[in-house]
């Protein structure tokens, strides 16, 4: 029996085939395939261990890994070859962001020890807060590729702390500092003038000074480890292993695609609002034949001012992730995995901004919509692949101001990315509380956040009767009560406050999201008097007094769910509730024991258990 790779199906090659195609033995190929990934994970740990920004050290909102070289004889062109586990959207976009920066800079200009940084979103990026960096990997004088990173900078200057300024950032000139590629390190020496761009123009001078050097340390780690493997196995073996690694993922994706019925599958959804408060239609058509697939966003709304548009590179990378997430099995993310995929992103649509549109906020909106639409469309192809709609915005809420708890007021910027529920699917219920697949970040502990920022978290609970019903139900909404202890300027972005999540194959939709304000509520909460009726910040409200209203109430007004520069007072209580996720399949077919368990866990009330599931619990 021939020796084969560890995987099954079309991804598998015999040892003889590996030797013949790549010029290396199977064992070396597998050792190096895993070594590439291990290297990226080590680079990730370096950032987490040394970063000062909570976005990097606590949350892990960055992507880091390796690119291969340009080598036409091997069909290599600075392809993404290995990535760490955190923030896939950040890393996957390197297939464009890092490549375009290298091409812009000129590959032959790099010298050992150089680090080039950039954040020009229109050059294959996402938004100006995502700082790209590349460091060349030389081996015996030959360029073997790059160590690359994208790190989400907590603040990049501009009018809004955190940079997320939906509605306020009319165009790209209002987003903060913009950097075409430039030296951060030249021949291993830190370039002070570049660091001063951050110390002078962002609100996080100390964090920036540290974390810029952390980036270099992490990239240098990757450069050193690749050098080690190239020394040990030889340059040709290393390059052969890159080809092998890319082809491996490509074969695995093509194998998975071949099992999806050929056809044309469509999905549509809405963003809650544009800058004028009007809904934005988003559409996706998936054409799938054999092992090829085309994902087309034609028919979607035009780009909108004030942050209601995304970069094409964000859209495409998110579509790649949507496909990768709905395919069965786990396929290593690298450029090879995306070879079978074509994406159509019409210029001037919300999925392909044209300069000078602002994309800082839209980065999150449409990144998520892209992934969700792809999953919704492919759900039509095969019930076994279908999944109810998840929360599909990386919702955020931020507070910024002066922290005076220590006597000397110091500026602070708190930014929370909301996690949420996933839809039910063929195999089971949706996750209750997890991060979107584009993010894959961590949520910091409440204790850390209360220590680091002048905020109190009064509550974080699942909300009864918000999970989309189904044979396999979606996850429920989560509600947090947050009280700033100082006057704060806030930004919020939250989806599905107007259009609830959808179920699949008879499953129901989830509950809607919303943000509400209990003015001065902290004092009452501390006295255990309960909170008074809130005022709606985002969601449906009674225009007479701002109190919560149902979407179907006559005269109910929708208050936009994305806004920047909103002021909350010390002692206010902000109620931030995400959506519930969609269910899968007919609720009447749900296991009665599962319904009982949901009632016991307060996911479903007894009354709704009877109405939706036909469960009479006595």
């Amino acid at each position: 029996m021939p020796v084969q790779q560890e995987s099954k199906g079309a991804a598998a090659l015999t040892a003889a085939e590996v030797e013949s195609r790549y010029g290396i033995d199977l064992t070396t190929a597998e050792v190096l395939r895993h070594a590439l990934r291990y290297t990226s994970l080590q680079m990730e740990q370096k950032v987490k261990a040394a970063g000062l920004s909570p976005l990097l050290a606590e949350i892990g909102d960055f992507g880091i890994g390796l690119l291969g070289p340009h080598d036409e004889s091997r069909d290599l062109d600075f392809d993404a070859i290995a990535m760490a586990t955190g923030a896939p959207a950040h890393y996957v976009i390197n297939q464009y962001y890092a490549r375009m920066a290298i091409e812009h800079w000129g590959a032959d200009r790099f010298e050992p020890g150089d680090v080039i940084i950039y954040n020009e979103a229109y050059d294959g990026g996402s938004h100006v807060n995502d700082l790209g960096a590349v460091m060349p990997i030389f081996h015996e004088g030959e360029l073997l590729g790059f160590a690359v990173s994208i790190t989400h900078w907590l603040d990049i200057g501009g009018p809004i702390p955190t940079g997320f300024g939906a509605g306020l950032q009319h165009d790209m000139y209002a987003e903060g500092i913009r950097l075409t590629p430039r030296y951060l390190y030249k021949g291993g020496e830190l370039v002070d003038e570049t660091v001063e761009l951050f110390t002078a123009q962002t609100r996080i001078a100390e964090i920036s000074t540290n974390d810029l050097q952390v980036i270099k340390a992490a990239l240098e780690l990757g450069v050193g480890m690749v050098g080690h493997y190239a020394d040990r196995y030889g340059k040709d073996a290393y390059l052969g292993a890159i080809e092998y690694t890319l082809d491996y993922s490509e074969r695995a994706v093509r194998q998975a695609l071949s099992e999806i019925p050929d056809g044309v599958y469509e999905a549509e959804d809405h963003l809650d609002n544009d800058v004028d408060g009007n809904p934005m239609l988003v559409r996706c058509t998936v054409r799938k034949v054999g092992t090829e697939i085309e994902i087309d966003f034609s028919g979607s709304s035009r780009e909108g001012w004030g942050g209601y548009a995304a970069q094409w590179s964000d859209t495409v990378s998110a579509a790649h992730l949507g496909l990768q997430n709905i395919l069965p099995g786990s396929i290593a993310s690298n450029a090879g995995a995306y070879r079978p995929v074509h994406v159509v992103a019409p210029a001037g649509s919300c999925f392909h901004a044209l300069p000078p549109m602002s994309t800082t906020s839209g980065h999150l909106f449409f990144l998520c919509k892209s992934t969700t639409l792809v999953k919704m469309a492919i759900s039509q192809a095969d019930p076994a692949l279908a999944v109810g709609e998840n929360y599909d915005d990386i919702g955020i809420i931020s507070f910024a101001g002066l922290d005076d708890r220590g006597g000397t007021p110091i500026p602070f910027i708190f930014l929370r990315f909301a996690l949420g529920p996933f839809g039910g699917h063929a195999l089971g219920d949706g996750s209750l509380y997890a991060v979107l697949e584009q993010g894959n970040v961590l949520e910091p502990s409440v204790e850390f956040e209360e220590e680091a920022f002048p905020l109190l978290f009064l509550e974080r609970e699942f909300v009864t009767d918000t999970a989309g019903a189904g044979l396999h139900r979606g996850g429920p909404a989560t509600r947090s009560l947050i009280a700033p202890l100082v006057d704060s300027e806030s930004t919020y972005q939250l989806e599905q406050c107007r259009f609830p999540t959808k179920g699949e194959f008879g499953g129901g939709g989830g509950g809607m999201a919303g943000i509400r304000l209990h003015k001065g509520g902290l004092e009452r909460w501390a006295r255990r008097e309960g909170l008074e009726s809130p005022e709606v910040v985002a969601g449906f409200a009674d225009p007479a007094d701002g109190s919560p209203a149902a979407a179907e109430d006559e005269g109910a007004e929708f208050r936009v769910s994305k806004l920047a520069g909103v002021h909350f007072k010390a002692g206010d209580v902000v109620e931030f509730q995400g959506p519930g996720a969609g269910g899968y399949g007919d609720p009447r077919e749900r296991d009665p024991e599962a319904v009982k368990r949901d009632v016991r866990n307060e996911i479903v009330s007894p009354a709704e258990a009877k109405r939706l599931y036909g469960a009479d619990l006595g």
Binding site: G106, D171, I293, E294, S301, E303, H320, A335, P346
Partner: protein, 66 residues
């Protein structure tokens, strides 16, 4: 500053019909349009029925200072 915004509310990728049928599946019309693959932008001539690509040309921006 004032900049133009598309006047259409919904945006479609412009498809340019190309003479000749698809050599693979015989579909009557193939189209020329732009799309993105794993390395960036392409101008393709492609059949939207069987996804056969008859022609593709990579679109690259010039290097800095070029």
């Amino acid at each position: 500053m004032l900049f133009p915004q598309p006047t259409e509310m919904f945006i479609d990728e412009p498809l340019e019909a190309v003479d000749g049928e698809c050599p693979r599946c015989g579909e009557a019309t193939v189209f020329r349009y732009t799309l993105v693959d794993y390395r960036g932008w392409l101008r393709v001539t492609k059949c939207r029925s069987c996804l056969d690509v008859q022609d593709s040309e990579r679109i690259r921006p010039p290097a800095q200072g070029a």
